[in-house]
Point group: C2
Chain length 273, copies 2
Amino acid sequence: MSTSPPVGPSNPRIKSALRLRERKERDASGLTLVDGARELRRALEAGAEVVEAFVCETLLAGEDARVALDALGAGDVPTTTTTEAGLAKLAFGDRAEGLVAVVRAPSLGLTDLRLSVDPLILVIESVEKPGNIGAVLRSADGAGVDAVIAASPRTDLANPNVVRASAGTFFTVPMAAAASQEVLAWLRDRRIRVLAARVEGGSAYTDADLTGPLAIVVGAESEGLTDTWIGPEIEAIHLPMLGIADSLNVSVSAAVLAYEARRQRGGHTTGAD
Amino acid sequence: MSTSPPVGPSNPRIKSALRLRERKERDASGLTLVDGARELRRALEAGAEVVEAFVCETLLAGEDARVALDALGAGDVPTTTTTEAGLAKLAFGDRAEGLVAVVRAPSLGLTDLRLSVDPLILVIESVEKPGNIGAVLRSADGAGVDAVIAASPRTDLANPNVVRASAGTFFTVPMAAAASQEVLAWLRDRRIRVLAARVEGGSAYTDADLTGPLAIVVGAESEGLTDTWIGPEIEAIHLPMLGIADSLNVSVSAAVLAYEARRQRGGHTTGAD
């Protein structure tokens, strides 16, 4: 670590990193911000390219921070030590953990996805809130989903709040983003069966066959799925809503559906994925 | 509706209602704030006592707002029309829907809970974030859970952000709050079987018998359950985590477990609950 005195909010490196809060800067650079010790540790362990880091030594605490700092040192990542005000300028989470880093976002091309022989894919359509996308990634990680595909998303997946809400799974769950029509064509080409989760209609999800190569498509909360997901080869399923509300949070629906698929596939093991 | 001119942020009624953002004021009055057209509509439809309402006519839009306004009028609820700045002072959600109301919070005594003959109960222990409690209520509503019990909660359930995150199910899902030991004693008295969801150990939840009178206990994300939930009569279960993360969001775990219980109970119907 550097022995220069900690820098404050007006430091040019901080100002430069801060521009990654804007989508156009993220799109142009392919970079994003990671805030938090656990998130940065997971990024490093997943082999993400950490371009530079900002560390506030008086805020550092815990095992995750120690492991992340060691990995930054071992990887010769350029690191700027900051004052608490300097770090606060960059941080956006609700915890102050003394670590924010500039990291290369994963590739999001459909053609880059590597699937198992019997893939389980979650497709989320038109989702707008970064927090919901991050929460879906976290649920998908838990359920051992092969990939999460954002169909016609209304935000960029590299939004720092996606990373934050994903609890670091942003760097490990394979992801792609493309227009809904392209996603459907890609699934058809690979003979992956498509099940569209709708508020009403179709079978209850527990009556549907969720084994074999499968993509489950869930929509944004307010509107449900577009007509792209209606067709002779597409089976509609629904998640029974037994109370007064008409939908679940998208990360909750995704988890219930994916865990049921895992149950039907026989045993909660990751297999050869 | 009143014909007096709309009032601004310094209006004494607004200032008085604003005090309900503080827990001690909510505890003393038994009242809370409801922000949003859908939330207020659901409160009214559930028969909650709406003490007074604040309406900004230039922000009102949609079916939920219209239904809520009609019900306020029919119920002779004292209503103050506000300027946009007046309403903004009171509102706390991320949407501005022109409606904020002061509403009596439901009773939270264990003895007030009415259960079906074959109850499914979710117990959430030590949960701190109001948004997580609201999200659990929404999941519980969807899965047709009989009641949600907050064991040794770290926030008050009447926090306006609980109401907001619950998508209005705060007013319809039966709730109680008590110390963990009291909750366990209450469950034992009623011969309700207790299953404690832990990160590791016990059976996979899909191998456990989730039929019959049952309480499923889930903990706060950071720490898991306290030792109250270890004992000869308490069965440990776990939700397999197939990725890198060590836990799911508590509302996601609650939904996966409750929907699996519904599946095992045979058919996704609310029955005679």
